[in-house]
Each structure stands twice: as structure tokens, then as C-alpha cells.
């Protein structure tokens, strides 16, 4: 397992480099121009000047190399500087966003809190409700509970968040009285600092709706996989053995069957974690959370290539990492799986 992990980590380097190249190529190929958002009143020759100022005139491989150097060499130095108070990166050019003309990484760091609070929390909540529902639905297949769970999960998955989000806003922000307990803000305040109980309460309130919407969506998906996988294992002979030992139904299901059913669920969850960092574009937009998802979509729309490239690459690193974690977990969950 150790050698496997090490080998995979080594392979990850060329993989990621390749991904970086492909992303870069894709972004170059994709139609669009950083000047798209500049009003039409700005004449073309001025736009041309602005483009040049962004470094767009340089050949593509130079642009790519610059990004590589900035991302892999200068940004880590900045990180070290921040941690240890050194001055390695002083005066060196960091990866700069074309929209804001500021270091991309600073904005990413700025976006982390709300992304984790909202998207991360909703993922966590989603998993926490999905697993029990999936397990119980499988255990009591076709019971009322299962049917209801199926129904809600399907609605949750097939009704897009741009609808459920707005629905919640209409119910809880528009139609509730501003002073009632059930009123929730429709606009997320990213400047809110949690310092005491009151601000914590406020934070919870403003998270409530986006988290609900996203958690429903996540839970729907995970619970379906959990249920299916449990169903596959509930009838195996070892379950009978466990029962013959006098193990309670709870333990039979939660220990013996669950462990055998976890592989697909682990996969789905591991696939979802990078998405957390990718943000939830629509939900963020509906509730104005302005997390990483909004950052990415905004950057794509504005053709802010350094930003898109950096965000996507960070995303790629997480994907590779979490897929590796999933693979390692497979080996731990099912000792029969071999990777050598």
C-alpha cells in the first residue's frame, strides 16, 4: 500500500503537468477574450493596448511557462513568507488575475471561508443524512420509508437548485416577517466575522438556506448509491453468519453489510470533495455567497485565464489527491483488492 501510494504520488506529477497543459490549451482554444466585459464604447485600439498590458501578446508557450514558474516556484515562496515571515518572494511577480490585477492566490484564500462554511457544510450534512437514509431504505426495501426516501431523493436531484433556492428565498425571506424566527437572509454576508454567540447565530442563519438546498441535492445522490450497494450485500451468506452469532440487526447492518457496501459510496464521496472546493456555482449565485464557484464562473465569463487556470489546476490537484485517497481506502475497506 505504501509503495502503491508513493508510486501514485510520483505518477501524479506528470499527470498534473499534463492536465495543466491541457487546461491551458483548452483555455487558449476556447473563444472569448478578457476584453469581453469592457463596454463597447471602449475603442478597439484601446482594447488592444489593454490586452498587451495583460501579457497577451506573448507567444503561448511563454505565457504557459510564466504561469508554471509563478505557480510552482513563486507562490510556494509567498506561502513560506507568510508562514515564517521570510522575504523570499519579495518583488517577484505572482500569478495575477486579469480582472482584479491582484494575486490569484490571495483571492482564493479570501474565498475559502465562505466556501467551506456553505459548500463544505452542506456536503457534510448531505453525507450525514444520506448514509442513514440509504442504509435504512435498503434494509427495509420498498417500505413506506424507502418509498418516501426515494421520492424525496429523486425530487431533490431532479429539481435544480436554481429553483429550490429561489423557492426557499420566496418562502423564508420574502413571505416571512422580517422579525420572525423563520426569516432568513437571502443574501450571504461574507464580511460577517464570527466573534461571539450572536454573530455565530447570524452565521448559522445565513447559512441555513444555501446549506439546505445543497445538502438535499448531495444527499439525494449519495443515498441512492448507498442504498443500491447495501441491497447488493444484504443477502450474502456472511450476513447469515453474523446473525447466527446473535449479532443484533443493527450491528449486522451497520458493521457487516455496511463495510462491504462502502466502496461505491467512498467513490462518490471522494469525487464530491473536490467539488466542494469547486464551489456550487448556482447556489452561490442564488444566495450571493461569492465562494470559489462564483469566482471560477466569473473568471470564465471574464476570460480571466490566469485565474481560471489556477483555480482549475488547484481543483485538479484535489481531484487527483482524493481519487488516490479513495483508492487507498478501497484497499483498506476490502483487503482482497490488490494494486501490485
Amino acid at each position: 500500500m505504501l509503495t502503491f501510494t508513493i508510486r501514485r504520488l510520483i505518477i501524479a506529477v506528470p499527470t498534473l503537468l499534463f492536465i495543466a497543459v491541457v487546461i491551458f490549451g483548452l483555455l487558449q482554444l476556447a473563444p472569448g477574450d478578457p476584453m469581453a466585459q469592457v463596454p463597447l464604447t471602449v475603442p478597439p485600439e484601446v482594447k488592444e493596448r489593454m490586452r498587451e498590458a495583460l501579457g497577451l501578446g506573448e507567444p503561448i508557450h511563454v505565457q504557459f511557462w510564466k504561469w508554471i514558474v509563478q505557480f510552482f516556484w513563486i507562490e510556494p515562496q509567498v506561502f513560506i513568507d507568510n508562514v515564517f515571515g521570510t522575504h523570499l518572494a519579495d518583488g517577484k511577480l505572482r500569478v495575477l488575475s486579469w480582472q482584479t490585477r491582484s494575486p490569484v492566490m490571495d483571492i482564493v484564500v479570501q474565498r475559502m471561508p465562505q466556501t467551506l462554511w456553505v459548500v463544505g457544510m452542506s456536503y457534510l450534512v448531505g453525507i450525514l443524512i444520506a448514509l442513514p437514509i440509504g442504509i435504512y431504505s435498503a434494509y427495509r426495501q420498498y417500505s413506506i420509508f424507502d418509498q418516501l426516501g426515494t421520492f424525496i431523493a429523486m425530487i431533490g436531484f431532479s429539481v435544480p437548485t436554481f429553483f429550490t433556492g429561489v423557492l426557499l428565498i420566496v418562502i423564508f425571506s420574502v413571505n416571512m416577517d422580517r422579525d420572525s424566527f423563520w426569516w432568513f437572509p437571502s443574501i450571504y454576508d461574507t464580511t460577517l466575522q464570527v466573534t461571539d454567540w450572536a454573530s455565530f447565530g447570524q452565521q448559522i442563519r445565513q447559512m441555513a438556506m444555501p446549506v439546505t438546498v445543497l445538502a438535499l441535492y448531495n444527499a439525494a445522490q449519495i443515498s441512492r448509491f448507498m442504498r443500491a450497494s447495501m441491497l447488493d450485500n444484504l443477502n450474502q451468506d456472511y450476513v447469515r453468519t453474523a446473525r447466527a452469532k446473535g449479532v443484533g440487526e443493527r450491528a449486522v447492518v451497520m458493521v457487516h453489510v455496511l463495510r462491504n457496501s462502502l466502496i461505491p459510496v467512498v467513490t462518490v464521496i471522494a469525487l464530491g470533495v473536490p467539488q466542494v472546493f469547486g464551489g456550487a456555482i448556482i447556489t452561490e449565485q442564488v444566495f450571493k455567497v461569492n465562494g470559489l464557484g462564483q469566482l471560477l464562473i466569473g473568471a470564465i465569463e471574464a476570460n480571466d485565464l490566469p485565474m481560471v487556470q489556477t483555480l482549475t489546476f488547484i481543483f485538479a490537484v484535489l481531484i487527483v489527491l482524493f481519487n488516490l485517497i479513495a483508492d487507498v481506502l478501497y484497499g483498506i475497506l476490502d483487503p482482497r483488492i490488490r494494486y501490485d
Binding site: 500500500m1 443477502n235 447469515r240 447466527a244 449479532v247 463495510r259 475497506l333 476490502d334 483487503p335
Partner: protein
């Protein structure tokens, strides 16, 4: 429909002191061809401290009855459609288990009734270590903490004669040999010292020495704690050794019941007579050079001719070595190696049978699999009819497999749970396109007939069968292609002796007709004696003695071989072996450190076709 009506039950007496009483049990299953009755009408009792052996035809409902007693049939799609299952609980009160709710059953299962399942591979949870699974019941019923339970688990493993239990306890089921798994299941059932132990063919995968030790263990338990045992087996010798009373089952009914001597010496029912007549006895073949088919009960004009085979070498194995890594630590790194097969060499001639016998876990299955390259051996040469198997690429290997087939030790695990039996048997023919359409259909039917499976089973799925029936499907599948070599790993262990006799005869017939060769792996010495031309005795990964059957059986030289012969039980209740006849030798382990360098095997010729290992084998 049946000309058998159960004799008046001797248990109709007032029920004082019975630990369990089964009355008119009836169990049915839903299959897509309509309901099927697994057990039609069974009644018998089990008294404290008593061993009741249930014998009978394969598929007669033995396992189903025992599962009913545990109320586990429901989970397998069965339904107790009639009868009562009275169980006397520890506290005194009697309960009808057939009516009990699952909550009550939970406190009884494992604690008051322990069960050893017939197929140990599938019965163990593949993702938990042996230790974890063993300790579970202890923690649950005995209120032990994890550490104490683990300690007890190690003890239990030692009791069931598993070498190096500290190490094994951390292994997973698939890393154990068939016999070891069976012993784990036994240990699991014994863990809480239940008042009633249901043992469903607990020793089929065990060699005679370990079997004897396990039987002794159960006997001791019975004596010391008054545990009652319901013992399901096909091995009449074991019945003779163990039983107080015997229940004979046939097609879902009890046909005869009585004390063991009575059953053995004065059987009443036709089936019982047939059964006893079919029991192979060690020594039957003394003086004969070649194996010959068995005389079948009730078959006239059987042509019994010795099978000579040829002198032409079909399979030649040289210095075959296979090792498995033992993983340890959080990172699951290789910390040691299991020297499962260590430098073994042998030949098999065309049309002949080589039997491999030996202690459970000594590497027989691994040897069989390695030479078919189902496990990649570490080193060695294997030549089948002139082709070097080890050198083949995957495509050629597949073609070569047309000539070599394997019957797996654990038939349930080796059948695809999603496929109908007919499709499973047809698969090899489809794979190689040997037969098609009608011809294939006919062959499948023929094979089903020959292994004594009703054709109506063709549409069933593996889990709808009894253990023996599954084994026969596996045999039919291996025979489908008419291969040149069959590696048959414990292929008749789950069959009742009468079916076993027929299946063995079938195999020998094919051998005589088509010149089939067998590598026959078995624990049943009487069967080995019956079918083999040559015999190899394995111990701890090496062949310690190899030679013609006559030489080995009539003149065993190696101390292990001698011990093995000694331990063979005799199918006669009057000639029971006592416990002190057994010598409980500590069992060495095949697990060695990474830097361990084994010596090569060197043999000494002691007879015309009789070789003895001179290298230290650890015995």
C-alpha cells in the same frame, strides 16, 4: 409419491430433559417455478450431552432443518410453513422457536445455539479479520472487552489447531486455506460454549488428523459442558465415531432414527442400507495395483475393471514454489511470506490419478491452482503434454486450459451468483465453442444426469441449492469440456456416500474411456485409496512422500504419512478410537520471515515407485 413413510418417532415420549425438539417441521422456498419444499416433515429430539448425527442424501434438507432451528431460513428466502421447534432455554423455560420473534432469537443465537456453517468461505465476512469475526460473539454474549476477546480468540484458534494463531488472527478469510476457514467457523460457533451446537459438515475440509482432533475437541466440550450436538455429516466413519443417535434423512423426510449401533448393524430402510453399502472403507483396495470403480448398491451387471492408464507422462511438475505475502501494519506492507508450496515435483501419467493428501493448510489447493496458473507460481516448471505452461502468454494459456480444468474446493464461492446453473455448466463449452445449440443442451442434460442433479435444477441459481448440489454443478462444469487433466480439489467432500460413489465411478469411467488424468486432492483416505494410481503426501508445502498408491498405503515410511494412516476413522461404532490414541503434535507454520531461505527438496528412493523426502520437512 414416495414409498417411504416415516417410522413412528421414538421421540414421541414425554419431553423431559430434551434440549431441542423438532416436530413436523416443514420448510418451503419460493422459486420461480413455484414453491419448492426443502423439508417436508421432520421430527426428532436432541438431549443434553448427546450427539445426534443427521445423515442423508445430499439435498435432503439437513442444512435447511438446522437453519430453521436457528430461524435463519427466512433470511434465505425460506419459510417455516409448519411444525414446532421447541428449545429448552438455559433458564428452564421452553420456547417454540418457530414462533419466537427475531429479538428473542438474537439472544439465543450464538449464545445458546451455535452453528457451524457448511460453506466456510462464503460464511465469513471477507472484509474483516478472523480475529474481529471471532471476538464479535464473545464481546456480545460474554461481555468481554476487545482485548480479552482477542485473547480468547487466539486460544480458540489454537484449540482448533490453527498454527501461529497470533498471526492468523490478523489475516482475512481469503488468505486462509479451506480447512483453516472451516476451523475458524468452528471456533466461532464454539466461542460462547453454546448449549446446542449445530455442526453442518464441520470436517469436510479437514484432513484426518485434524479432523480427529476437532472431533475430540467437540467430544470434550460435550463431556465438560453438557453441550448437545446436532452433527450433520456424510462421512459414515465420523458418524460411527461420534454419534449417540443417528437420524437418516431422505428427500425432506426422516426415514429412520435410532442409536448408532442399531443404524449401522440393523438398518431398516432401503436408503439406509444403500448408504451403508456405499461407504468406502480403507483397505478395500489392499493388494490391487490399479483403482477400480465401486460396486453400486442395486445395480446389476456392473462392469468392474481396473483402470490401468498409460505410462506416458501428461503433466510434469518440477520445483514448483508459490508464496504469498503476509501484510502487516497500517501501511499493509509485506512483513513475511507464506511458503504455501515449496519446491514440489511430480508427474502424472495419461489416464492416471495422482492424489495429494496432507494436512489442512499444507498447500494442496495452492499447488493445484499454481500449476494451472490460476495463481502465478514464484518459480518452477509445469509441462502439460509437452507444452510449457509457465511460459505461455495469456492467449495461449487460455487455449491450454481447454485441456486442464479445476474443480474448486469451495463450490459456492466459485459459482457466479447471478447465473443459472445450466448457463454455468454451458459456459466452458461456449467459451471454446466445442458444442453448440442442441448438442450443447444435450450435453448439459447428460452431465446433470450423470452427477445426479434433476434437470429441473438447470434454471436455478447457486444459492437455491444445497452444498452437495452445488459441488456437483462444479463437477459437471469441469467435465463439460472433456479435458485431459482435472484438478479436483475436495470435489466429493460434500456428497453423501451414495452419490459420492456414483460421481467417483463417473470420474473413473471417464478416465477409462477417455484417458483423463486427475490430480485428486482429498482428505478422505478411503476415497483416495479407491481412486488413485499414485499418491503424494504433503506437509508444510512439501511433498514428503510420493509413490504408487500401494506403496504408500501398504508401506508408509514418513512419520507423517504413518500418523495420517493411523488417524483414519473407521466406519464402525464398535471400534471407536479413544482420544489418547491421538498425538497432539504442535503444528509448525509455513510463515517465514522475508529473508528465510528454504532448502531444496531432496528425495530418497525407498521402493520401486516410492520416494521419501530427506530434507527436513518440519515434522
Amino acid at each position: 409419491m414416495l414409498d417411504t413413510s416415516p417410522p413412528p418417532s421414538p421421540t414421541a415420549q414425554p419431553d423431559t430433559g430434551h434440549i431441542a425438539r423438532i416436530e413436523n417441521l416443514r420448510v418451503s422456498f419460493q422459486t420461480k417455478d413455484g414453491p419448492v419444499v426443502g423439508v417436508e416433515d421432520i421430527s426428532f429430539t436432541i438431549n443434553p450431552g448427546e450427539t445426534v448425527c443427521v445423515v442423508g442424501e445430499s439435498g435432503s434438507g439437513k442444512s435447511v432443518s438446522s437453519l430453521s432451528l436457528m430461524r435463519l431460513v427466512e433470511y434465505g428466502g425460506g419459510e417455516i410453513s409448519g411444525g414446532r421447534l421447541i428449545f429448552d432455554r438455559k433458564g428452564g423455560g421452553e420456547v417454540d422457536l418457530a414462533q419466537a420473534d427475531q429479538g428473542l432469537m438474537r439472544t439465543i443465537r450464538g449464545n445458546e445455539i451455535g452453528m457451524i456453517f457448511q460453506e466456510p468461505m462464503t460464511a465469513l465476512n471477507p472484509v474483516f479479520t478472523i480475529g474481529r469475526q471471532l471476538s464479535e460473539g464473545l464481546i456480545l454474549h460474554k461481555g468481554m472487552n476487545r482485548k480479552a476477546a482477542m485473547k480468547r480468540a487466539v486460544e480458540l484458534l489454537r484449540e482448533v489447531r490453527i498454527p501461529e494463531p497470533e498471526r492468523r488472527i490478523k489475516q482475512y478469510p481469503h488468505e486462509l486455506s479451506g480447512g483453516m476457514r472451516q476451523r475458524v467457523v468452528i471456533a466461532m460457533a464454539l466461542a460462547c460454549e453454546p448449549r446446542l451446537l449445530i455442526a453442518d459438515e464441520p470436517t469436510t475440509a479437514l484432513d484426518v488428523t485434524i479432523q480427529a482432533e476437532i472431533l475430540a475437541l467437540m467430544d470434550r466440550l460435550k463431556r465438560e459442558t453438557g453441550t448437545a450436538v446436532m452433527f450433520i455429516t456424510h462421512d459414515m466413519a465420523v458418524v460411527a465415531q461420534m454419534a449417540d443417535r443417528v437420524v437418516v434423512m431422505f428427500r425432506g423426510n426422516k426415514v429412520e432414527e435410532g442409536p448408532v449401533e442399531q443404524i449401522f448393524h440393523a438398518p431398516v430402510h432401503d436408503y439406509t442400507k444403500a448408504l451403508l453399502a456405499a461407504v468406502p472403507k480403507l483397505g478395500d483396495m489392499t493388494g490391487k495395483d490399479f483403482p477400480e470403480p465401486m460396486k453400486l448398491f442395486g445395480v446389476e451387471g456392473q462392469d468392474i475393471a481396473p483402470i490401468r492408464g498409460s505410462d506416458e507422462v501428461l503433466l510434469s511438475v518440477r520445483n514448483l514454489t508459490t508464496r504469498f505475502p503476509v501484510k502487516g501494519g497500517v501501511l499493509r506492507r509485506t512483513v513475511a511470506n507464506v511458503h504455501a508450496v515449496e519446491d514440489i515435483s511430480f508427474d502424472i501419467n495419461k489416464g492416471q490419478t495422482l492424489s495429494l493428501v496432507g494436512e489442512s493448510g499444507c498447500g494442496k489447493s495452492t499447488a493445484g491452482r499454481s500449476l494451472l496458473r490460476l495463481i502465478e507460481p514464484l518459480s518452477g516448471q509445469v509441462e502439460l503434454g509437452g507444452t510449457d505452461i509457465i511460459a505461455l502468454n495469456q492467449g495461449d494459456l487460455r487455449r491450454a486450459r481447454l485441456d486442464m480444468q479445476m474443480i474448486f474446493q469451495d463450490p459456492f464461492a466459485s459459482l457466479n451468483p447471478q447465473m443459472q446453473l445450466s448457463d454455468q455448466v454451458a459456459e466452458p463449452m461456449r467459451n471454446y465453442g466445442t458444442l453448440k445449440g442442441r448438442a450443447m443442451q444435450e450435453r448439459i442434460e447428460m452431465l446433470f444426469d450423470r452427477v445426479e442433479l434433476p434437470r429441473s435444477f438447470m434454471r436455478r441459481y447457486p444459492h437455491e441449492l444445497s452444498g452437495g448440489q452445488r459441488q456437483r454443478v462444479a463437477i459437471a462444469r469441469a467435465l463439460a469440456l472433456n479435458p485431459k487433466l482435472i484438478v479436483s480439489d475436495e470435489s466429493v467432500s460434500a456428497l453423501d456416500v451414495s452419490v459420492q460413489a456414483q460421481v467417483l465411478n463417473l470420474m473413473m469411467e471417464l478416465q477409462a474411456e477417455l484417458g483423463l488424468s486427475f490430480l485428486f486432492i482429498s482428505h478422505d483416505m478411503a476415497v483416495v485409496e479407491r481412486v488413485s494410481h499414485r499418491v503424494g503426501v504433503m506437509y508444510l508445502g512439501r511433498i514428503v512422500e510420493i509413490g504408487s498408491r500401494r506403496a504408500i498405503f501398504e508401506d508408509p515410511r514418513h512419520p507423517y504419512t504413518q500418523a495420517l494412516m493411523q488417524a483414519v476413522p473407521i466406519a464402525d461404532p464398535t471400534r471407536r478410537k479413544s482420544e489418547h490414541e491421538l498425538n497432539f503434535k504442535p503444528i509448525p507454520s509455513p510463515i517465514h520471515d522475508l529473508d528465510y531461505q528454504p532448502e531444496p527438496s531432496v528425495y530418497q528412493k525407498v521402493g520401486e515407485d516410492h520416494y521419501l523426502l530427506v530434507t527436513d520437512s518440519g515434522y
